[in-house]
Amino acid sequence: MTTLDATLPAHGRVGAAARSFLAIVERDLLVIRREAPSFLVQTLVQPLFFLFVFGKVLTGIGTATPSFGTILLPGIVAFTCFLTPLQAVSIDLGRDLGFTHEIDDRLLAPLPNVLVALEKFGLAALRGLIAGACVFPLAYLVLGSGYHVRTDLVGEVAGMMVLTALLGAAIGMLVGAALLITPLLFTGCTYYPWSTLGGIGWFQVVTLFNPLTYAAEGLRHAMLPPIAGHPIETLPMGWVLVVLCGSLVVILGAGLRLFRHRVVS
């Protein structure tokens, strides 16, 4: 029996996997670009209405204090960054692995399956970042004179948005989205600062188990200008970072393992 050139050198395999990975990224970027208009309309409808009703209508009719729009905005950015990739990943995976199997061609490409999952995770997070960034001009238009965002912590805002989007994408790999979205959203301190919950102690504790709480609090810290000379009270940033990074690692690890389990029987 003649020997085939069966044994590829190790660097050949790494190179093949890298080329494959980049080609899959290229494919996703093309699809994102092509779907951009409908994607943005779909994802920005929710923040638009929240900003309008809570930030404009409720403050206008006196149900909410005039600063409510300002306090609300970081929460809206947080849930947009969080929810967009969560839905993108969980709907895509549910569909691809469940019945269309459109991901098969990527799973048969010469790279480890885990890289296919990581690519999906990363590009979904990118979608979340794009959507989250679009909330700012939207808020500027809707809130008008009620738009107050401090600009001295731009790096912190960007960092928090990246972490939030990655966390949303990781959770999307782990769960079917539909069931979880509502409880995550309403216990995630997106519509109220955590410190204001002191009067409902048990609920304040519940929110601490939702990673979205830390994302919203972090963004509040980075975005809200001091009110009457006092910086806004949020969860300590050290804790925010520890919890966000920790839950990201744990959830992503579990998500990748589940993915492996779903694509190789």
């Binding site: 080329r19 494959s20 779907e35 790279l111």
Partner: protein, 332 residues
């Protein structure tokens, strides 16, 4: 000759499976061979292909493609194989031509080369005018062509086709058969699963007949036919004296009983009749002298006062071989 595929004592048991889906299967496929896995649904064909294409992990045994162990080195194995699945898994976010070029890009084919290959394959598959189309409204046959083109974009050593013509219209089926023959002439190793014996018979150099996770026989189509004992099959077409009441037990019909009682006859099978509705067709499996059988069968029919319409020796089909091996019908 080099083996394109080597499978040794392969076993797959799914976590909640009652039996092994693939049960101690061994075979080798030579380079350039068109090899068929023939069997009913649930025989383990798709699982076997799944293992060879890195999507299913075997419970035991060894499987290698182009000398590469698919479990130890799935990445290298994936570079050598092309896969056309049972149902469409085409990337619907892309246009037809992009499906081909991106597949090649995943496999590290250079930009210029993948454009050239996509042009050539779209032309060859009769899709030259559809490259910019979206897949919406593509028929099953057209999607099959796109999947075949995609699988060939990185010039795999071995092409796997899982039930390639299942659910295709006759025209698309013939088209695909032509393409598979052309690949064969080009020296591509093709492994296909099917429960269509005509397909296996026409396309395959060798066929493994599978049932319940095991290979029951593996040979050329001609070799498999020789497995029918005695090798004589006689078809008798008669018009019966009176219609047999519906629901009568098998063998209750006197002509059938008389035929079964002839010396050398091992089995009689009533076939679905063709043409006039009162004609009955019996197939006799027999050992011994064929001429003697012909004469005594004719006498038996006349003796039972039935009208003899036709008598002919039949060539056993692969389905006959399958029934002989398993006792059940391929489509059952």
């Amino acid at each position: 000759m080099t083996a394109a595929i080597e499978v040794e004592h392969l076993v797959k048991r799914y976590p909640r499976g009652r039996a092994n889906a693939v049960d101690d299967v061994s075979f080798a496929v030579l380079r350039g061979e068109t090899f068929g896995l023939l069997g009913p649904n649930g025989a383990g064909k798709t699982t076997a292909i799944g293992i060879l294409t890195t999507r299913v992990l075997p419970t035991g045994g060894r499987a290698a493609v182009a000398g590469i162990d698919v479990v130890a080195d799935p990445i290298a194995a994936k570079q050598r194989i092309g896969v056309v699945p049972q149902t469409s898994n085409l990337d619907r976010s892309l246009r037809v031509r992009e499906i081909l070029t991106f597949h090649a890009a995943y496999h590290g084919v250079s930009r210029r080369e993948r454009q050239a290959r996509a042009d050539a394959l779209l032309e060859e598959l009769g899709l030259a005018a559809r490259g910019r189309d979206k897949l919406d409204w593509f028929s099953g046959g057209l999607q099959q062509r796109v999947m075949l083109g995609r699988a060939l974009m990185h010039e795999p050593d071995v092409l796997f086709l899982d039930e390639p013509t299942n659910n295709l219209d006759p025209q698309s089926r013939l088209f695909l058969w032509d393409r598979i023959r052309a690949l064969h002439e080009r020296g591509v190793t093709v492994v296909l699963t099917t429960h269509d014996m005509e397909e296996a018979d026409r396309l395959c150099d060798r066929i493994a007949i599978m049932d319940h996770g095991r290979i029951l026989a593996l040979d050329t189509p001609e070799g498999l036919r020789r497995l029918i004992p005695g090798g004589t099959m006689l078809e008798v077409r008669t018009r019966l004296p009176q219609a047999v009441p519906a629901g009568a037990p098998a063998g209750a019909e006197p002509v059938e009983a008389a035929l079964a009682a002839l010396p050398g006859v091992t089995a009689v099978e009533r076939r679905p009749g063709s043409g006039t509705d009162d004609a009955a067709v019996y197939r006799l499996y027999a050992t011994g002298d064929a001429g003697q059988l012909l004469a005594s069968a004719a006498q038996a029919v006349v003796r039972e006062e039935a009208e003899l319409l036709d008598l002919r020796f039949a060539r056993p089909s692969l389905e006959d071989v399958f029934i002989h091996l398993t006792g059940s019908n391929l489509r059952a």
